[in-house]
């Protein structure tokens, strides 16, 4: 058994919240710089150069890469042999997020209730917390702040087995084409296949925060990722929707077992600010 105090968890989350919003992952910055050379459209290349400059300014000055510092999605993988001391995990995550948002000058983008008053909570909390109980004695935290421009364009379709690979292609293209410039392309497209409706959505979210250039372990799904990326980049949408061949940096697919009568497909779109930061306690 390993003790981890809520204080340690809150401190870690406070740090990760700022880190994720102000420092784009290196793989994302590298993808921007590569595409700033390979993109065929001159406007597209200029946009990509601006995005790479923007990432450098944000990192240097510790200001958010994007003003939409998002709703904060937290993936917490808790080892079965971890004993959290001094309070609750979710309270610790929210305390850390509120502190990080205040000290890191992150935008307060959370309303307390979705339909009637929509009052801003003023703290950027609560976080969206996904807890998984896993073997081991570590607590792994991944913070993925999620902006609305891209999240609003995500979708779930309950396909049937006969829809097959063609149905998956159609659904991914539908999401990407509807997203267009609204989702701040180049995007990272997360695709979740199988499970039930909510499992597909969660798989898509996890896929969207996978490192760029990582591939699905199953070669058939890795080939599908390659094919979907080619298709997405043939839409012509391009950087910021201003036309070009770099509509997405990556398409990642994750899958789960599903029902004999089902083929759920979820598409979670991440904007060019494909932010995430992680720590293992």
């Amino acid at each position: 058994m390993k003790d981890i105090s809520v204080q340690t968890i809150a401190d870690t989350v406070a740090h990760l919240a700022v880190q994720a919003c102000c420092h784009l992952p290196e793989d994302v910055v590298a993808a921007m710089k590569e595409a700033a050379v390979s993109e065929k459209s001159a406007v597209g290349r200029a946009v990509l150069a601006q995005l790479a400059d923007n990432a450098a300014i944000a990192a240097r000055e510790d200001v958010p890469v994007c003003q939409d510092t998002g709703l904060t999605v937290v993936f917490a993988d808790v080892g079965q042999e971890v004993h959290i001391t001094g309070g609750s995990l979710e309270d610790a995550i929210n305390e850390g997020l509120a502190r990080g948002s205040l000290n890191g000058y992150l935008r307060r983008s959370c309303v307390a209730e979705p339909l009637f008053e929509r009052t801003n909570t003023g703290t950027n909390t609560p976080a969206i917390v996904h807890v998984r109980l896993v073997p081991g004695d570590t607590l792994s935290l991944v913070l993925a702040p999620k902006g609305a421009g891209s999240e609003n364009k995500s979708l779930v379709r309950m396909l049937v087995p006969a829809d097959g690979i063609e149905g998956v292609r159609r659904t991914v293209l539908e999401a990407v084409e509807k997203a267009g410039p609204n989702s701040c392309p180049p995007m990272v497209v997360g695709v979740g296949l199988g499970g039930t409706m909510e499992v597909a959505a969660l798989l898509a979210k996890r896929a969207a925060v996978r490192p760029l250039k990582s591939r699905n372990a199953d070669p058939r799904y890795a080939a599908l990722e390659d094919e979907l990326l080619l298709l997405v980049n043939r839409t012509g949408i391009g950087p910021q929707g201003l036309g070009g061949v770099t509509t997405a940096f990556a398409v990642h697919v994750e899958w789960a077992p599903t029902h004999i009568a089902m083929l759920p497909v979820a598409v979670n779109i991440n904007c060019n600010a494909a932010r995430h930061a992680s720590a293992v306690l």
């Binding site: 935008r107 609204n182 839409t235």
Partner: protein, 186 residues
């Protein structure tokens, strides 16, 4: 976005705004208004109730933005464009009140484009996700109304050489459609 950018003063001169064409790169200097979802809703509610507006909209350029908070010594935090489509329900009413330009990102509805043609208003985009870079072109940020809305408050911004591109002009020419068609190979 290009070396041959057109320098524009905001609030916009009507004739100059009307002459802008889809694809023009511009650098905007002067004063723009910052407003997004909640401020738009309140502006239109004021108009519907016959209540006075907190600011005269004649000639104004509205930037769809909700900045992140300012660090000490900064005018404001990160300040890139938000998705314009969410303002579509309100934009035609505000153009009728005198709004002469809109800056944001993403597609607009037919009703908005029709109003742009009617009132001679261009729609411009800046780079979504480049909030840290764009905020360097904003020298002041002053809340004009509804501070309780936080990042959604109505504000006035002084901008200097703020980069944007005309994506839909007042004739309805659409840069998104034109450029995407050029690279589409599906």
């Amino acid at each position: 976005m290009s070396v041959s950018a057109i320098c524009l003063q905001a609030p916009f001169d009507r004739e100059q705004a009307r002459a802008l064409r889809a694809g023009d790169s511009v650098l905007i200097s002067g004063t723009v208004l910052a407003a997004r979802d909640a401020a738009h809703k309140r502006l239109v509610e004021c108009l519907e109730q016959g209540a006075p507006l907190p600011v005269d909209l004649q000639g104004q350029v509205i930037y769809y933005v909700g900045p992140s908070p300012a660090k000490p010594g900064h005018a404001l935090g990160s300040a890139g464009p938000t998705t314009s489509g969410r303002m579509d329900a309100y934009a035609p009413r505000l153009m009728a009140e005198g709004v002469a330009g809109m800056i944001g990102k993403g597609y607009r509805s037919k009703a908005v484009v029709d109003a742009m043609k009617k009132y001679g208003v261009p729609y411009l985009a800046s780079v979504g996700g480049a909030g840290a870079l764009l905020s360097q072109c904003i020298t002041s940020y002053t809340v004009l109304a509804w501070p309780e809305l936080g990042p959604e408050a109505l504000a006035r911004m002084e901008v200097r050489n703020f980069p944007a591109v005309v994506v839909i002009d007042c004739l309805g020419n659409n840069l998104y459609e034109q450029n995407q068609a050029q690279y589409r190979t599906l």
